[in-house]
């Protein structure tokens, strides 16, 4: 029997699109609402020229978008591309040769994987972040703390344990002695938050900064300090960078005054 030509053509198209859809998700910066986050510095930052690709943990999206917007005025000669994903996914991409110049991780464990394979320069810690429960606006299900997350009437989503936020969330739950049966394990914090903003899940554990970035899309339920886990964010220059001077200047910018101001405006704590 002869193959139906149209069938084969459609098959080829469908499979091509299927693979294309699984590609990396580098998004252009688009947060136009954050002009108040940090006043642009008037001095032009030295060394920040050429093009840089920053691989950053998904929880850094808003803050690094702000930094990018600030650098547009203070370093006009710099072309910046930010790629956000779960830190574990970024490590895997860098290990397989993705063209990153700077890597900012949401935990030291993932950064240390690249340190031990000598793929990055010595990292510097640049921020801390705390965990918070995110629920639907107005908290209709009455979630008041970690212990509520074991309730059977709640659909709870936790980031996969390979994602820093998922690892921290599980640490916090075990400290509080709470057992949770999540309905899904998304692969980064933004995907976890999306399940709550879309109404599919009732609660998730993300960073304080994610709840802040989601604005009125979610309500945050604080986790007391004795149950909370503080995340440490390290940043480092990727050794294979073609623009080491600018990469180093970018790291210096993030760990110093203007970068810290942008991060703290988005809810991060100083290192």
């Amino acid at each position: 029997m002869k193959p139906p030509v149209r069938t084969l053509a459609a098959l080829a198209v469908a499979l091509g699109l299927a693979t294309a859809a699984c590609g990396s998700s580098s998004k252009p910066a688009s947060s136009g609402t954050s002009t108040s986050a940090a006043a642009p510095t008037t001095t032009v930052s030295p060394g920040l020229t050429g093009s840089l690709t920053i691989f950053a943990a998904a929880s850094l999206t808003a803050a690094f978008d702000d930094i990018k917007a600030n650098l547009k005025t203070s370093a006009p000669g710099l072309s910046l591309t930010n790629n956000y994903a779960g830190s574990q996914a970024l490590v895997q991409q860098i290990e397989n040769g993705a063209p990153a110049d700077v890597f900012a991780s949401a935990d030291t464990a993932n950064m240390n994987k690249l340190v031990s394979s000598s793929m990055v320069d010595p990292p510097q810690n640049f921020a801390h972040n705390a965990l918070e429960i995110a629920v639907a606006p107005g908290n209709p299900k009455g979630v008041h703390g970690l212990s509520d997350l074991s309730r059977s009437d709640l659909k709870v989503v936790l980031c996969d344990a390979s994602v820093p936020a998922g690892k921290y969330a599980r640490q916090a739950l075990s400290m509080a002695g709470v057992t949770v049966h999540p309905v899904s394990n998304p692969l980064d914090v933004k995907a976890a938050l999306m399940t709550v903003t879309s109404g599919e899940a009732d609660a998730t554990i993300v960073y304080v900064t994610d709840v802040m970035a989601a604005g009125r899309g979610v309500t945050g339920v604080p986790i007391p300090a004795n149950q909370n886990v503080i995340a440490t964010y390290p940043i480092a220059v990727v050794k294979s960078t073609k623009n080491p001077q600018a990469a180093q200047a970018y790291v210096s910018y993030v760990v110093s005054g203007p970068g810290q101001k942008a991060l703290q405006a988005r809810g991060f704590m100083a290192p």
């Binding site: 069938t7 699109l17 299927a18 999540p182 109404g199 899940a201």
Partner: protein, 260 residues
């Protein structure tokens, strides 16, 4: 006809095309952890993901057969207003990026989606983040393959057999089951195999609509993606299983497509 000697201008790109397909497969196979293959194959993670994938993909094929074959028959044997539009709609999931399909499913069949809301109120069933949701996502992307192959098969069948059955007193239902289905059986099998392969490989729509939970919605492709970041050997082993299944499907279809 004598076989022509290929000009270099065609030969080189042809060899490159073949290399493009074969080289990645070599990359996968040469990284396989052969020494620990047995342990990996029998590990809980692999068995759980494989079991779930088989359950979901076979359910998706079952659903596609039950719903898709009647639609293929309608498209091939009847004429109704808007038939061309219906045919075009059937093809949409084939050209739509699967992740977009997942978003569409979420906003239709999610808890806040109009259809999902109604379904939950009438039956108490929710689909998002459930195994049923994964089956629905796989059916969405796989059913069109079955429909178009079966429709093409129906168009090739000689309708005089059905007419002869009619003159002998067989009703339309009986004609469909006793004459039409046996005649299109090869297309049915090929369409089902293609749909099965597509369902088994589904990633984008599943992770978007059904989520990612081991044992519930984390099918093989999702498990491969997650494992790649934590235990690459496991990811490679699971990839090899999917590759082996694809080869089996191809072998099953060889009479139909590899004959030329």
């Amino acid at each position: 006809m004598r076989r022509a000697r290929p000009p270099v201008g065609l030969l080189i790109p042809a060899v490159l095309a073949l290399a493009l397909i074969v080289v990645p497969l070599i990359g996968l196979v040469q990284r396989a952890p052969w020494s620990s293959l047995g342990d990996q194959l029998s590990s809980h993670a692999v068995r759980q993901a494989l079991g779930l994938s088989l359950r979901c993909s076979l359910s998706a094929v079952g659903l596609s057969l039950v719903l898709g074959v009647p639609l293929a028959w309608m498209l091939a044997r009847t004429s109704f207003p808007g038939r061309r539009l219906v045919r075009a709609l059937v093809l949409v999931p084939m050209v739509l990026p699967p992740v977009v399909g997942g978003v569409a499913l979420l906003y239709a069949f999610g808890r806040r989606g109009f259809a999902g809301h109604l379904l939950e109120r009438l039956t108490g069933i929710t689909l998002a983040f459930t195994t049923n949701g994964a089956i629905l996502a796989e059916t969405f992307v796989a059913m069109p393959f079955l429909i178009i192959v079966v429709e093409a098969g129906l168009r090739q069948v000689d309708v005089r057999y059905e007419e002869a059955a009619a003159t002998l007193g067989a009703g339309p239902w009986r004609r469909f089951w006793r004459v039409t289905i046996p005649l299109v059986f090869p297309s049915l099998a090929a369409g089902a195999a293609l749909a099965w392969a597509r369902a088994l490989g589904e990633f984008g729509a599943t992770i978007t609509f059904a989520g990612n939970l081991p044992g519930k919605t984390q099918t093989m492709p999702l498990a491969v993606y997650v494992a790649l970041e934590t235990s690459p050997d496991l990811a490679i082993v699971m990839s090899l299983i999917l590759l082996a299944i694809s080869l089996v499907v191809l072998a099953g279809l060889r009479d139909r497509w590899l004959g030329a």
